[in-house]
């Protein structure tokens, strides 16, 4: 997967299209992507690093970051394992309703996150379809960290599945058949043969899921209740602080989240060769 720019060898001398198109690309991206990102860093550090550090280490801020990481972690764990299982079932077995299942699994990509959060509320909320039976028992899922995990799972549901399934589809059945004829059980085959080939897909699926979950806002704000120090994730914290006029506090966390996603995508981009090792 190396980016191979073919030099137009037949064109001798100076090619005007080249600097022009590269310049165009950068100019278009400037106001849309580069400058907004840059301003986070410019504003965040404009009052000195001390105030930045103070904003970052505020207990509510630390809590928000930790909560985001923890909820995203569990959502990722669930979705990778489930994605692996779903990809296995849906690419290995052909059955009636298979395509309907594939579409359903992929659906959350297209659902607005606010709708997802709302749907969860309608199911699990104190007056929801299921929640109304749980509430008398003292079981309250909404407005807890659990609700955030549920929301994260819902919106990142198709990501890991979407990365792993194509690998399953293109994986030659003969590898697994060879393993079977050699004498391996289904489980041994999966562990020694199938899983190693999926390593890249699993890692990139997990990173994608995690990055997406950490940044989730629309569904989280509905199901979490946005209680500072209890159910306030990092993106909610940014929103809350901004509303309160505490721009520095919001900015500090914004920088952390921006750097974090930058890190994840760097891994995804530069470790591609390692992830796809044949």
């Amino acid at each position: 997967m190396s980016t191979n720019i073919s030099p137009m060898r037949h064109v001798r001398g100076f090619d005007v299209a080249r600097p022009f198109s590269i310049g165009m690309l950068v100019i278009i991206m400037m106001p849309l992507v580069f400058l907004p990102l840059a301003s986070i860093f410019i504003f965040g550090t404009s009052k000195g690093l001390t105030s930045f550090w103070a904003a970052l280490t505020a207990s509510e801020a630390i809590f928000a970051l930790k909560l985001s990481m923890a909820t995203s972690f569990w959502a990722t764990m669930f979705n990778v394992i489930f994605g692996l299982f779903a990809a296995y079932v849906l690419s290995r077995y052909n059955f009636w309703g298979r395509n309907a299942l594939i579409v359903t699994i992929s659906l959350p990509t297209a659902i607005p996150t606010a709708v997802a959060g709302f749907a969860l509320l309608l199911l699990w909320g104190p007056y929801g379809t299921l929640g109304r039976f749980l509430a008398p028992q003292g079981v309250q899922i909404m407005f807890t960290a659990g609700a955030i995990i549920l929301a994260n799972i819902f919106v990142t549901f198709p990501l890991a599945f979407g990365v792993i399934k194509p690998v399953f589809d293109t994986m030659s059945r003969s590898l697994e058949e060879a393993s079977a004829t050699i004498g391996a059980t289904r489980w041994q085959t999966f562990w020694h043969v199938t899983l190693p080939s999926l390593r890249g897909a699993i890692v990139s699926g997990a990173l994608l899921t995690f990055a997406r979950a950490v940044g989730e806002f629309g569904s989280t704000i509905l199901v979490s209740g946005n209680l500072a120090g209890r159910t306030q994730t990092a993106p909610l914290y940014i929103f809350a602080k901004f509303n309160e006029g505490q721009i520095e506090a919001a900015n500090a966390i914004a920088i952390v989240l921006a750097l974090f996603s930058f890190l994840i995508f760097s891994v995804l981009f530069f470790a591609r060769d390692w992830l796809d090792v044949e």
Binding site: S172, S174, A180, T181, I182, G183, T185, H192, P196, E278
Partner: protein, 416 residues
């Protein structure tokens, strides 16, 4: 292990079988297979003896791969049994059959080194590490890949990958080896070299093997016996010599080697081809008067002489005109138009005369492919347009029943 014990038991129970001929290592008994409503295999029966190599030869889609997959346990037969070393394994899963399968794509595990690939069978059987190392070393030596042991399959050439695949199956001492078009992905030169290597290797390890191929040359070279498969059934099974020289069906005649086919009719215990009459041979009682038959012969069985040559022609077919002469390496290849109506060139004067009027013009000549080796070609030089007398040094007469109509009226050559 279990199957080996079963084998021993069987051999001791049948002392006669082991004394007369090598014991049967694998049998396929009455195997049929359907995919949905399509029948892909019908009543397949064959045995493979201990240490023997059997080649299943057939065109793609003939069902030969399905047979192999059924033996391997990757496919369930609709009816019939698979018996390996006296043990019925039809209901056993692939992993309990103790077979070694070499897939067309080799199916090496991409994330394992050569060593790990070869040791896989022993690792999952939880053998001791030292034992695994020893076996792997031994096999690396056998397939001459010692210096590649740390490489990954993608870093090896096609031939090397295949040797790894073979070593990987030999590691756990399979009782039968199955090869699915093992040379399909290789270039012509490697193919020839590898099949000689594999042939030698098989004789060395003395494991019975079943090969699948559509390549007649490969079949002739690898097989102790060949089974010709055509649309889901076995056309003929026998040694390469038997199948090449005594084909029992038109299909096996044309599939293995090049063959000329001429339609004829049985008349008074002889075969009538146009104006010529040829002896039916030993199978005369198989045919009835007036039955339509096929005369099958190999291009190298055609003997050509000039009409002015007064020597008698054996099994004379009649007169013909050279239509094409081409050079094909070791031999010269000619296409000759046999004239079915012209009489008088062959000595027998009893030739019937009615044929000229009854045979339509387009039916009166037939192309025949003949090949001649260099000395013969040099002795009697022939050019396009020359008239020749066509004789046959050997031929086979087959009943003309199942022949597809489009093939029935033309000489067919299927080679390479």
């Amino acid at each position: 292990m279990k199957a080996q014990q079963a084998m021993i038991k069987k051999v001791s129970a049948n002392p006669d079988a082991s004394r007369n001929s090598p014991p049967v290592a694998a049998s396929v008994v009455g195997v049929s297979k359907r995919f949905g409503k399509t029948s892909v295999l019908e009543k397949i029966n064959f045995d493979v003896a201990e240490g023997e190599t059997l080649v299943l030869l057939g065109a793609s889609g003939s069902g030969k791969t399905t047979i192999l997959r059924i033996i391997a346990g990757l496919e369930q037969p609709y009816t019939g049994r698979v018996i390996l070393h006296g043990k019925d394994v039809t209901d056993l899963p692939a992993r309990e059959r103790g077979i070694g399968a070499i897939f067309q794509s080799y199916a090496l595990f991409p994330k394992m080194t050569v060593e790990k690939n070869i040791g896989y069978g022993l690792r999952i059987r939880r053998h001791r590490r030292r034992e695994i190392r020893e076996t792997v070393n031994q096999l690396l030596g056998l397939v001459q890949l010692e210096e590649h042991r740390k490489k990954y399959p993608s870093q090896l050439s096609g031939g090397q990958q295949q040797r790894v695949a073979i070593a990987r199956t030999l590691a756990y001492k399979p009782e039968v080896l199955l090869f699915d078009e093992p040379f399909g992905a290789l270039d012509a030169q490697t193919r020839v070299r590898l099949r000689r290597e594999i042939r030698a290797l098989l004789k060395k390890v003395n494991v019975p093997a079943i090969f699948i191929t559509h390549d007649q040359e490969e079949a002739l070279e690898l097989g102790d016996r060949i089974a010709v498969i055509n649309v889901g059934h076995i056309e003929q099974i026998g040694t390469p010599y038997e199948i090449y020289n005594h084909p029992t069906t038109e299909y096996s005649a044309t599939f293995l080697g090049a063959a000329d086919l001429l339609p004829g009719v049985i008349k008074k215990g002889r075969v009538e081809i146009g104006s010529a009459l040829l002896p039916v041979g030993t199978d005369a009682d198989k045919f009835s008067e007036g039955q339509s038959v096929k005369l099958v012969f190999r291009p190298e069985d055609v003997s050509l002489s000039r009409p002015e040559d007064l020597s008698t022609t054996n099994n004379c077919l009649g007169n013909g005109v050279v239509q094409e002469v081409s050079f094909a390496g070791a031999h010269e290849r000619l296409i000759i138009r046999l004239d079915l109506t012209e009489t008088g060139t062959c000595e027998p004067s009893e030739t019937p005369f009615y044929l000229t009027t009854e045979t339509p013009e387009s039916q009166s000549t037939r192309p025949i492919i003949a090949t001649r080796l260099k000395p013969e070609a040099n002795a009697v030089r022939l050019r396009v347009g020359d008239r020749v007398v066509i004789g046959l040094t050997s031929f086979t007469v087959l009943p003309d029943n199942a022949a597809p109509p489009e093939r029935a009226s033309s000489a067919t050559e299927i080679s390479r």
